[in-house]
Amino acid sequence: MSIILKTEKLRVEFTSGELRQTTKVALGSLDLEVNVGEVFGFLGPNGAGKTTAINVLLGFVPPTRGAAYLFGIDVRQPIARQRIGYLPEMTYYYKFLTAEELLRFYARIFGLPRAEADKRIDQLLKLVELEQARKRSIKSYSKGMQQRVGLAQALINNPDLLILDEPTSGLDPLGRMKVREIIQRLKNEGKTVFFSSHELGEVETVCDRVAIINQGELKATGRVSDLVAQHQANLEKAFLDIIGYQTQSAS
């Protein structure tokens, strides 16, 4: 199986404050490998370092040490991002544009010819169920609709690898289910999906493998079924176990 996303001893430190005296280690030494065609869940509680790792993969934050690769290319080279789609955490898209205009703008950035872009935009708006609202400006959209516009923009270039940062956070159960359905459909099309989450319920149903991190350290990685078997509990229990949280009932 070939590896599509890889990090090697990835370390990220943030320095803050006057005179740079305080150093915060957001990621200790992260080793990850994601195979082609997998749906990979990147789990951890808030503040674990998930967004930081994703920010390194996208070139927004330089690694303090270690390296990260997409398609075998170091992420410091912009070309590594040619075949990916990315959905950031909580983004408020240009509110003076309509969904259609927004997607056309992104299509132009990828240099899609007009006819192809039109076709692609129609497909995507159908996929994320925003056909009715395509000519309305984004400022009138609900949170769930915004998130679905985000998914559509991540797919505009028909990417082979999708990196989604908490795609379901802040959505209601129906919105979450729709996002899960879309992920499932992308997997069936043979795409690789790497997504971060702290919602365990959804992970169990869609992920092939997961990695669990806490405070910048990788705690466990493997198939969901294996983790559950190892800990002789459901995923939520296993997760709490792995991140070192002692449950009350374990007396």
């Binding site: 920010n55 240009y94 703008f105 950035i109």
Partner: protein, 259 residues
């Protein structure tokens, strides 16, 4: 190139879908028309006076549009987080800056054109006289000057994250140059050392935006500027614009973009 135009297109759409421009235009138009109404005594000087007011308002409005639009671009991209999906696409940070620059410059150019058409109609209807070439020179030189202002504001918006402080500082700097920039060498002459050297250094470093101000030629109808001078002024503006854009890029190139 396509990427830069796509980025610029978004900035232009934003300008004509926001209200700032319309407010400034309506204000300028109302004040000009009101000034024109004062023409009870049929004083021939009144037309000149209306032209003067209208031109001044056009200059202030264009500066405001240019600086306010530019200063908020990059902070707004970071605030709404749209910079993340954007830079995750095959867009380099250099293209991002150029796209924002051309977007702001073209948007300001469109606004400027609307203002000048209004000016030409108002004064032409009074005087039955349309010195097109003078207008063309005036608008071109003003637009070239605004390129420097926009590049400067973009540079400022990299340094300071708050659009309001960028706007204020840039507006004061630009207004200062326009009002006093040309006299600094005279001021320097009457100073003792080390002030004299400081004033001279500033005089030689600042972009002399006041050279681009040919309002008096339009108002008093003094005829055309030498075309060669226009070309030189354009090159001068291009050099400063390039310098400020380079500084912006250097500051932004390695910037860590989380949160």
């Amino acid at each position: 190139m396509n990427t830069i135009w796509a980025l610029a297109g978004v900035v232009i759409k934003e300008m004509y879908r926001r209200k700032d421009f319309y407010v400034l235009f309506v204000l300028t138009a109302l004040i000009t028309i009101a000034a024109g109404m004062v023409n009870f005594f049929d004083d021939p000087k009144i037309v000149r006076y209306v032209k003067d007011i209208c031109m001044l308002l056009i200059w202030i409005s264009a500066l405001l549009i240019a600086i306010v639009t530019t200063a908020r671009q990059i902070p707004a991209e970071r605030e709404s987080r749209t910079i993340f999906p954007l830079l995750a696409k095959p867009v380099t940070r250099g293209q991002f800056i150029l796209g924002k620059f051309f977007g702001c410059w073209l948007a300001t150019g469109i606004a400027l054109l609307v203002f000048y058409v209004f000016f030409a109609i108002i004064t032409g209807s009074r005087e039955q006289y349309w010195p097109w070439l003078t207008y063309l020179q005036a608008i071109w030189l003003q637009w070239a000057m605004l390129a420097v202002v926009i590049a400067l504001s973009l540079c400022g918006s990299i340094i300071s994250a708050a659009p309001s402080s960028t706007t204020t500082i840039c507006f004061i700097a630009v207004a200062g140059i326009l009002l006093f920039g040309g006299h600094l060498n005279m001021v320097a002459l009457h100073q003792s050392q080390p002030l004299q050297t400081i004033f001279y250094t500033i005089y030689f470093l600042i972009p002399h935006l006041e050279w681009f101000d040919i309002r008096d030629r339009v108002i008093y109808d003094w005829g055309l500027v030498n075309w060669l001078d226009c070309v030189l002024a354009t090159l001068y503006a291009a050099a400063y614009t390039g310098l400020f854009l380079l500084l912006t890029w250097l500051g932004f190139r390695r910037k860590s973009l989380n949160t």
